[in-house]
Symmetry: C2
Subunit: 404 residues, 2 copies
């Protein structure tokens, strides 16, 4: 259908918040940027060469043969439930306290984020996000008809002084208190930055003082290449204010659509009640089997090495190719590098030319709830080969240099 | 966790509607009825002996080998998208007009129902349901904080005169106009009844006159054993008011969690926007492959024969075992028989004794949004063998007879 399609008989029965987002279609916009001839540094997709196809095939054959009656049925307590134990054990290893927390499996991390929103958000509520932040999460938040308030990110992640100032200002003005802060503390999408440990403590203090929930997105937490790990907010929290979400999309495969949330038990129960239809027993069983055989833990070191090599290739290429006045982040893990172009260059306007020269990226403006700076862009090194990275960054360097 | 668990730090931040449902846990109640020693006529599960385990194993091996890079990745246009074509073709065969309708795949039918609710329902809205109706749908509706108004079902399905009277009465009183009617027209869960063709036309007329959406649940539509098929409401509708949902849970396997909705294009787009995280690419691909090889159409005749045999065994057993004054429905398809016990017998109170004697069922009260008649119960013949059905109905007959 086209944008001009006729409105239907029941369009006036849509909720106000759905009417507001149906024509916004942010996803459509950024998906359409891909071109066939250019190296795509746009997508935060994992490298398909790292998918464990054979091991998953074996896991499928085993679970269907040994317990097909259960894994193809409605809810089961065999391998499917075992996956909850796997997640719980891995979260315990991050020191998340399970005396008052529980795990809920979801259909990927975005479903987990959506479910947390359903538990806490009414239309008109206020939520805080990092700016820039994951645009998929922004899309979810918009669906709920809430006011999204951005707080800047710097090299050490969320700027907690700015967060405190925003909260204080809202309080002084008598504005509505935010219900939720969404943060990606490890190797943030899109900046690649990691929230410093002392800042995490400050975030938790502010959450208690201003009475909001912290929604911690740990999508990339398993993929640290360098440096010392920083404890998750959920492990530092003793007030029961943190809901943490995770996913197997980056470490096993996105196509299996399995994520989770870890939350204070009663919040987790509320999430289960509203999560709508349950998760896929079949893929839960397969991934449960895959993990039970130790394949995930075995794979992680190689995943980290492979993505670290790509990160290195991208950073080296940027150093070699980008003109003076361009800066970028240096991530310790994850999939992304954030680039600040020289003042006055518009990454949106430049994209078509860049694609012609052989590279695509996502303009930084996509990652802001409102207006963002025009001279930023996100690069992803995860999906492409090292040589493609070098080729793409060379094209990017040429495109930018011509604009100086 | 127990019901008495301490409330947490952020419980007061839950939305009002979530606070209202979190302790209701209807699912918990009916799940706990199962006992190990009794024949379970409780669950509307498909027969695991009919699961196509081998063909699914082959489909998995093929798709992972031929296109593992795509089917394990985020969104793909290979087998995964082919499944949308399969569904569209099957819906076209039911004469659903695709000039103004489109298909959206979902994580099962309950997810489809939930998504339709997200598109149309605000807290405080009014929806109409058949009484009795599918309790899983009731659970979804409660999550939205809406007022659920029941309309009775008789041997020909939804009582359309009662529907008209309810709508007229609400209008006269100046009460809020319902936004949505939820109906399961074919082999309804829980009564097994089918909505007569003339009644379907009346429902559509009333929808236009009173300006509401018809949510048609076709979960059992593929499983007609006897008699002539009645066209779906979505095929009879020319006003763009019907959203139809379907599922592969009854005809392939519930564990793969794949359903769909067919809706006017703009409603379908709204549904896609709010559906939260997308469907499972991996299982979409597997089921797409399974269907592309013709396995689903090949399997349907045998599924119908097998379930018809079980239905016959249950009806014969009821005739042989139940005391006078007990009546039941005679479904032309699907999984369920609805029993009216002699006046004064309480199916809830009787259940413990029935379980001791060797049979469990679901008391009819579970299928009502408010108070329902105490002397009804739902039997399912789908999950158990013919001999188990005979054994279970014998136990039921004894239990009821003792109460006369």
């Amino acid at each position: 259908m086209t944008d001009n399609e006729a409105t239907g008989a029941v369009d006036h029965l849509l909720t106000d918040r759905v009417s507001a987002v149906i024509d916004r279609s942010a996803y459509g916009d950024w998906r359409s940027i891909a071109t066939e001839d250019a190296v795509s540094l746009s997508y935060g997709f994992p490298d398909p060469a790292l998918f464990p196809g054979e091991q998953l095939t074996d896991a499928v054959a085993t679970v269907l043969q040994e317990q097909g009656d259960e894994v193809l049925q409605y809810g089961t307590d065999s391998y499917a439930d075992h996956l909850e134990d796997v997640v719980e054990e891995r979260e315990r290893d991050r020191n998340i306290p399970f005396d008052h927390n529980d795990v809920l499996l979801t259909n990927g991390a975005t479903h987990a984020i959506d479910t947390v929103c359903r538990v806490f958000l009414d239309p008109g509520d206020v939520i805080l996000v990092e700016e820039p932040t994951f645009m998929g999460a922004l899309g979810v938040f918009w669906n709920f008809g809430v006011e999204v308030v951005g707080v800047p990110v710097d090299d050490e992640g969320l700027d907690v002084d700015a967060l405190a100032a925003t909260l204080e200002r809202r309080r002084e003005r008598g504005e509505q208190s935010p219900k939720l802060l969404y943060t990606i503390p490890d190797f943030q999408n899109p900046t690649g930055t990691t929230l410093a440990g002392s800042r995490r403590e400050r975030v938790l203090d502010l959450a208690t003082e201003h009475d909001f929930v912290v929604l911690e997105d740990g999508a990339y937490s398993d993929l640290r290449f360098d440096g010392e790990g920083v404890p998750p907010l959920a492990a530092m929290d003793d007030s029961g204010r943190v809901v943490r979400v995770g996913t197997f999309s980056k470490t096993i495969a996105p196509g299996i659509r399995l994520g989770w949330l870890t939350a204070p038990s009663r919040i987790r129960n509320a999430a289960r009640t509203v999560a709508a239809g349950g998760t896929n027993t079949f893929t839960r069983s397969i991934v449960g089997r895959y993990c039970a055989e130790g394949h995930l833990e075995d794979a992680l070191p190689e995943l980290r090495r492979a993505y670290a090599r790509k990160r290195d290739r991208m950073l080296d290429s940027l150093t070699a190719q980008m003109p003076e006045g361009t800066t970028w982040t240096e991530p310790d893990g994850g999939f992304f590098v954030w680039v600040d172009l020289p003042e006055g260059i518009d990454a949106d306007a430049m994209l078509e030319d860049a694609a012609t020269r052989g590279v695509t990226y996502l303009p930084g403006s996509l990652f802001y709830s409102g207006e963002g700076p025009g001279n930023t862009l996100r690069l992803s090194y995860s999906f492409v080969t090292g040589d493609e990275i070098a080729q793409g960054i060379e094209a990017l360097g040429t495109t930018v240099s011509e604009r100086l």
